[in-house]
């Protein structure tokens, strides 16, 4: 098994130029935006002279390339810079908010699997029949509803009307955090479910029709036992890569969901940083998200390798 994970270090090395490219693109793109942090900070009393003075004080009057080189120099020293808005190390802000977004994503992943697997099984074991149509209708609906609307509806129904959950926020204790994150995670899960269900349903139908399931059935396997032992693992293989790709997209979705639910994660940090032109924070968050997507990609392949012994990414890469 470990042998087959030899591709991981190679992947990590490949990530370096990708991340370098991300710094380059993000740095120059954010500087293309009109307006700088001094304009954002000074508020209604901003005048051209005062903006120029503050820009100078913040080092924003230096040539862009020099600013970029300084940023890269600091980055190699492990220093993400100082937030212009908060005058605090950016790493402090990112490390405060990243775990929140990560918990939200993982919670969403768990919920979406908890919804998808049974529904896909229900649909695939009776293709074309009532329950299959029901599940397919649900996926269509899930795909058609905008995330923020689903979020607001869940708040209205489960928080305001039923009073079961808080209306947004993050809570103070560890237990509260999960309680507060339930509705936003459910919203993200509902967005993610349709693709997972469809993929899982299709591959399950495929697997159910295969010779080895026929063999297993002839040997007396049936029902949940057959599904768990012989079907799910094989049907899950294509779904794993779909989940991997979706998690990458989902981190973009958290930007909206965090706003609707007032979750103080990376998405909220990013939106505020963009509005305030807090360049160091924008760069750090973008870098973090890029790193996250790369790690998800690698993890997806690890899971892929683990559940399908036939996959050997290491040999392919060595060849």
């Amino acid at each position: 098994m470990l042998d087959r994970l030899r591709f991981v270090p190679g992947r990590l090395v490949q990530a370096i130029p990708v991340l370098f490219g991300v710094t380059l693109i993000v740095f120059f793109m954010v500087h293309l935006l009109p307006g700088n942090p001094a304009v954002a900070i000074l508020g209604q009393t901003a005048t051209p002279e005062r903006v120029a003075a503050l820009s100078k004080q913040l080092g924003l009057d230096q040539p862009l390339w020099d600013q970029y080189l300084l940023f890269m120099k600091h980055l190699f020293q492990g220093n993400l810079g100082t937030s212009i808005t908060y005058q605090r190390p950016v790493s402090e802000l990112v490390f405060q908010d990243f775990p929140i977004t990560l918990s939200l994503l993982l919670f969403a992943l768990v919920l979406s699997l908890a919804i998808s697997v049974p529904l896909a099984a229900l649909a695939a074991t009776a293709p074309g029949r009532g329950r299959d149509l029901g599940v397919r209708a649900f996926t269509l609906l899930g795909q058609g509803m905008p995330q923020f609307w689903v979020g607001i509806m869940l708040i209205l129904l489960l928080a305001v009307k039923a009073g079961l959950f808080p209306v947004g926020g993050y809570g103070e204790t560890w237990g509260e955090h999960w309680y507060y994150l339930f509705l936003p995670a459910l919203t993200l899960a509902i967005a993610m479910c349709p693709t997972v269900i469809r993929s899982l349903r299709a591959s399950t139908i495929n697997v159910l029709g295969s010779d080895y399931v026929g063999t297993a059935r002839s040997k007396g396997a049936a029902g949940a036992g057959l599904f768990r032992k012989h079907v799910l693992r094989n049907a899950a293989i294509p779904t794993v890569s779909i989940i991997g790709v979706n998690l990458g997209y989902l981190i973009g979705g958290t930007l909206v969901i965090e706003k609707v639910f007032a979750v103080p994660g990376l998405g909220s940090l990013m939106i505020n940083a963009i509005l305030a032109r807090d360049f160091p924070t924008i760069q750090a968050v973008a870098l973090f998200v890029a790193l996250f997507v790369i790690v998800i990609g690698i993890l997806t392949d690890v899971v892929y390798t683990a559940i399908d012994p036939r996959v050997d990414l290491s040999s392919k890469e060595l060849a």
């Binding site: 051209p48 005062r50 405060q96 305001v160 947004g168 909220s268 505020n272």
Partner: protein, 519 residues
């Protein structure tokens, strides 16, 4: 012969605070009378953005300012109706005959929340600290101050470079709030990470992007706050704030948007309230661009806008037609200044007299994510069509919009102003004096007569003469119409019925020591 104007306010502030507590939010009866004030509890206020910093001298955002005002207090403060300055940490002052020296008497028995007594040395340090920031902070507001001297423990002498009527108003600004001399021995950064002041609340904790908390100052010199603590939480989405209020999770929704406000108004258990403000929404004409050099064009547009339609659509009726450069909450506002009103015939007549009698095409710059400005621009688009003007709408994100304004890259721009001090000078110098640094609020309006009036009013300490000068100024600016005034909007808050005694002054300050919760 020397004539010294001696004004003494000993005890007035104490009476004022008692009176405030007694009528607790008398601005409206609904948040007022709720029996005897109850002590204890935490007030939770949700608003769209986090604080940025507690550094009073270089922070420009209101979210931070409203929090720091609970902790650090100035020598003078604005009265509840916003019309005048009242002594706060000071008890009174004397002015020399040449109007260049102010002797300020400090209130005795005031201590900082760390127990140290307030002295003149603290006052000198605090005002000098602000002045030093110059144009990088609020220091420009102290430009008239030459020196601040601690004459004795309870007296401070301020010498001015020139006669300056707005001095007391300037001293009432949060940036001139009093902090311990030399930051109480800390560095500046250390101090503002956990500021100490004489205010009713003391710094508690701050989780960036989530919440900030202050707790009651047990040693407060005035009447002790009823609440144990106040927490401001960050809830970016207006709809979520509204739902949180309905769900009982928060006590106050700070600045609900207008649609939330009108729907919350009819909700049981919720008290949606307006308070007079100095907020004025207006459109600036860029006189560097054609054809806005032409006063007829400016007047034509100012006459073509149906303000009532805008107020109905944008504010759901919660506002009044703006009819002056100044707002009614600003001292020296004069209603009778002949500002253009909605009159299509007049607008057409002005167009006929202008350099572009057959109309022209132009654009208005607005800020994205600001539904109010989007509606204003759309209404103006259809109204200006009636007088032959083809209006395009340019939408940029807020910072980019500000940048375009600074660089004069616009034809017309929708803007708003709120006052920071109870004196018109801060605004008039920004709006009509090109020396104010903003090229007359980006209009490039330059009328020597108006500039002279403004300068004269700055030096005039006699209020009736100042009124006369500001009346003339308002009249002339309305005739020149470098701006089209649109509306005055109130401050809005939606709160639970159980919240009592909450009010906001026209400058947006709120005195949370007067607030209590009944349940």
């Amino acid at each position: 012969m020397t004539r010294s104007t001696r004004l003494r306010f000993t005890g007035i502030a104490a009476v004022a605070t008692v009176a405030l507590a007694a009528c607790g939010g008398g601005a409206s009866s609904s948040s007022g009378s709720g029996g005897a004030p109850v002590d204890g509890g935490t007030l939770t206020i949700a608003r769209s953005q986090d604080i940025i910093s507690m550094d009073k001298t270089t922070t420009f955002d209101n979210n931070s300012i409203y929090v720091m005002e609970q902790i650090m207090e100035p020598l003078f403060t604005v009265s509840k109706d916003g019309s005048k300055v009242e002594p706060w940490l000071a008890t009174g002052y004397d002015i020399s005959a040449d109007k260049l020296t102010y002797t300020i008497h400090l209130r005795k028995g005031v201590t900082f929340s760390d127990g140290k007594p307030l002295t003149a040395a603290d006052v000198k340090f605090s005002i000098d600290e602000d002045t030093k920031t110059g144009s990088d902070g609020w220091g420009y507001i102290n430009a008239a101050i030459d020196t601040v001297t601690a004459t004795d423990d309870n007296t401070v002498t301020i010498k001015l470079k020139y006669a300056w009527a707005p001095l007391l108003a300037d001293l009432s600004l949060f940036s001139n709030a009093i902090i311990p001399n030399n930051y109480g021995g800390k560095t500046k950064d250390e101090f503002y990470a956990a500021p100490v002041g004489t205010g009713p609340f003391v710094w508690g904790s701050w989780t960036k992007g989530q919440s900030v908390k202050v707790t009651a100052n047990k040693k407060y010199w005035g009447h002790k706050p009823h609440l144990d603590a106040v927490t401001w939480t960050v809830v970016a989405d207006a709809n979520t704030r509204k739902l949180q209020l309905q769900g009982g999770q928060i006590d106050i929704d700070d600045t609900p948007d207008w649609s939330s406000f009108s729907s919350l108004k009819g909700t049981a258990g919720i008290n949606a309230q307006t308070f007079p403000s100095t907020y004025e929404e207006y459109v600036t004409f860029n006189e560097q661009r054609k054809p806005f050099q032409d006063v007829h064009v400016r007047r034509a547009i100012a006459s073509a806008i149906d303000r009532n339609a805008i107020i109905k659509t944008v504010l759901f009726g919660n506002g009044t037609v703006a009819d002056s450069l100044l707002s009614p909450g600003t001292p020296f506002y004069d209603k009778n200044n002949g500002a253009p009103t909605f009159d299509v015939a007049k607008a057409k007549q002005e167009m006929a007299q202008s350099s572009v009698p057959n109309g022209f095409s132009t654009s208005i710059l607005i800020s994205s994510g600001n539904p109010d400005q989007a509606s204003i621009a759309q209404i103006m688009q259809s109204e200006l069509k009636a007088i032959g003007i083809d209006l395009k709408i340019t939408q940029l994100d807020p910072t980019a919009q500000k940048q375009a304004r600074l660089k004069s890259q616009f034809d017309m721009v929708a803007q708003a102003w709120t006052m920071d001090i109870p004196d018109p000078d801060e605004w008039t110098s920004f709006a009509v004096d090109p020396d104010g640094g903003s090229h007359s609020s980006f209009s490039y309006y330059d009328n020597p007569q108006v500039i002279a009036l403004n300068k004269q009013a700055e030096k005039e300490t006699d209020n009736s003469k100042r009124q006369e000068l500001y009346s003339q100024l308002q009249k002339q600016v309305s005739a020149d119409s470098p701006f089209a005034y649109l509306y005055y909007a109130p401050y809005v808050f939606a709160m639970k019925d159980s919240v009592k005694g909450f009010y906001s002054t026209p400058l947006g300050n709120y005195h949370l020591e007067d607030v209590y919760k009944t349940k």
